[in-house]
Symmetry: C2
């Protein structure tokens, strides 16, 4: 139950990729017929991603090496290209580190960044966001949904505000794409980052949607692939895989989302009911179907992870990207948790291979694990030890 | 015979990668045991790349999304990190577009770049290079070998000069790695870019060697993977594949290089002897074992490519990255060819699946193709038409 940290590649995706490893390994930039085949495969994949995000034109999708690169490209590429118009960027307190640290790198280069707060459920404070946008603001970057606490943002409404104020809206949809339907046109999105692996495609590939007319410049220079926005020999097997993953997700996302939502709710309910002093992190309803983030007072999430690991259950204490540091998650702190509350949080991300039995198992074993860990914690109040 | 544009993945490499797509898909940053397995697989691959390039420590190898990104990271990462020491970069006239255009992007940001010329064989003029280095020079970037004309540079000697002058040496070894042995320690290299696909590994992954103590900063920010130098969830299947490719290349490079050198020489000799007014581009002996670049007066390389393609032979008119533009290759112009000579050049890059029969076939069919094309070219002198 740690799908967010890494998803398996769907067997149908892998099957689609296989011929491009060893038989059809042409370079789309080559003139001969092998190059043509590679080019066709790539454009077919692009068409599938276009349909997946609801873009209008295939020229609006560019392939990258993944979500992190897409976020870097969106933020730095727009900032440097539009610095003649302003040097201010607005984002939120709960963005992914690739957004956070791209903004931080821009601050060393003369840009100012405003971090808009979120409420206790992790929903962006829309009024603060509106107030934060000035005539110097060139870009607003808000994630579609937070992979750690699951909260989904009111992107369409945010997009209206951003456009009314004359700025561009970038949406990091890495955690959301493949979980919930997204339509860039309907939801007022100018730039959007998605990652293949977060929708059962291969790693090492992602995409960025750039609405026609948006001013952006590359961060990686070279042979001019992807119409100059992302140089480097195109990773055809991975791109084909991402196309297939997008095609599958477009069809299966809805029924699978309903199935996962039920599992998620059963898991949350089971844990909150059976474990005293346990609480849901994130929004109770506006949340990703695959995400359950629960905190348990008086214990460390890391001890819980290791205990569950010994029983064959994988989960996380927060985003995998930050869980290797001892710092508490900036997302959990932003929704108002204290350091020790953040450390006592456990993130389950469900996926295709999870069943009702998996959920029952966790609901069955976790209460005893929590009880045992609390019994050796000096922080646990007496009434919980009985 | 267009291996440079795209190589098939070695079946042994693909086999090594397969488990990491759908079974062992852990995230190396996760705490649980699946994360540990991913971490181990990644470090095992790193160790193989370390051995392949002759680095001293595993901390000197960082995985990237490919050769283009490695070159961007080396040049921009060193330039921005060391701008307190100087704003001058020295490179050559025949570098890959990822080096050329990274330098170009730096010129917009206050850096100066000197492009050192090469001789008629494509060998860097070492004296010019030495003279070009000033006390403002922070970085010298010279490719190990040119993928288009095959010429190998005297990197060790260049490294001595660069270090004597107090600058850093970056080597783009994308075309050379896997073809000829390279040892970063013996050859005075501070930073080196390599790509997996150019040594029968998967696309979408590369590496950069950064000698301990070298000051460099990231170009892609995020979760702090690769010890902060390259953020983004690690592409484990691809990294495992690159490790395997490096391991295989270390063992098989020498015998395969000898085999290819013989095929290459047979191809070059066969074409030059059987086609009047044909010439070798690049150095006659200091060249990559897989590279044969021959020019034929009075005709267009593109017509040759299409004619050979109809007979099932893939080749290129230059680097795949630039062959889609109508501009002649900057490499061929830099070795002193006229525009029409550059356009009449044909690049064969040989690989594991090429046999003596392939070479015989090309030597057999190409003279007639050239003759036919020359017969319809208004430029062809009468004496060649008889």
């Amino acid at each position: 139950m740690d799908y967010m940290a890494g998803m398996p590649v769907d067997p149908r995706v892998l099957e689609a990729m296989m011929p491009y490893f060893s038989q059809q390994y042409g370079n789309p930039s080559s003139l001969h017929s092998w190059g043509n085949e590679a080019r066709k495969a790539m454009e077919d994949a692009r068409t599938k991603v276009v349909a997946f995000v609801g873009a209008k034109r295939s020229e609006e999708i560019f392939f990258t090496s993944g979500g992190t690169e897409s976020n870097n490209l969106a933020i730095k590429g727009v900032a440097y290209r539009n610095k003649d118009r302003g040097n201010h960027i607005v984002t939120t307190a709960i963005e992914h580190m690739s957004v956070m640290n791209s903004c931080k790198s821009l601050m060393k280069d003369g840009f100012n960044v405003t971090y808009v707060p979120v409420d206790k459920y992790g929903v962006v404070d829309v009024q603060s966001l509106e107030k934060a946008i000035t005539d110097k603001t060139i870009l607003v970057s808000v994630m579609y949904a937070n992979g750690e606490i699951g909260t989904i943002q009111p992107i369409k409404e945010i997009g209206e505000i951003v456009h009314r104020k004359g700025a561009l809206l970038h949406v990091d949809a890495v955690a959301a794409a493949g979980q919930v339907p997204i339509n860039v046109e309907n939801e007022n999105i100018d730039l959007m980052s998605i990652s293949s692996n977060d929708m059962y495609g291969p790693r090492g590939v992602g995409a960025i949607y750039v609405k026609t007319g948006t001013r952006i410049q590359p961060i990686i220079h070279g042979g001019g692939q992807e119409r100059g926005l992302r140089s480097g020999t195109e990773n055809i097997p991975a791109i084909v895989g991402m196309g297939k993953a997008a095609e599958i997700a477009k069809v299966e996302m809805k029924p699978e989302g309903e199935r996962l939502s039920q599992l998620r709710d059963k898991l949350i309910k089971g844990l909150l009911e059976n474990i005293p002093s346990s609480f849901l992190n994130g929004h109770p309803t506006q949340r990703l179907p695959n995400n359950a983030n629960v905190r348990f007072s008086y214990i460390e999430g890391e001890s819980l992870i290791l205990s569950l690991d010994m029983l064959g259950v994988a989960c996380s204490s927060g985003s995998a990207c930050t869980s290797k540091t001892l710092e508490p998650s900036h997302v959990l702190l932003a929704i108002g948790l204290k350091h020790e509350e953040a450390h006592g949080s456990l993130l389950f991300t469900l996926g295709k291979q999870n069943t009702e039995e998996d959920v029952d198992y966790v609901v069955n074993v976790l209460p005893d694990i929590v009880k045992r860990l609390r019994s050796i914690s000096p922080l646990t109040p007496k009434e919980l030890l009985s």
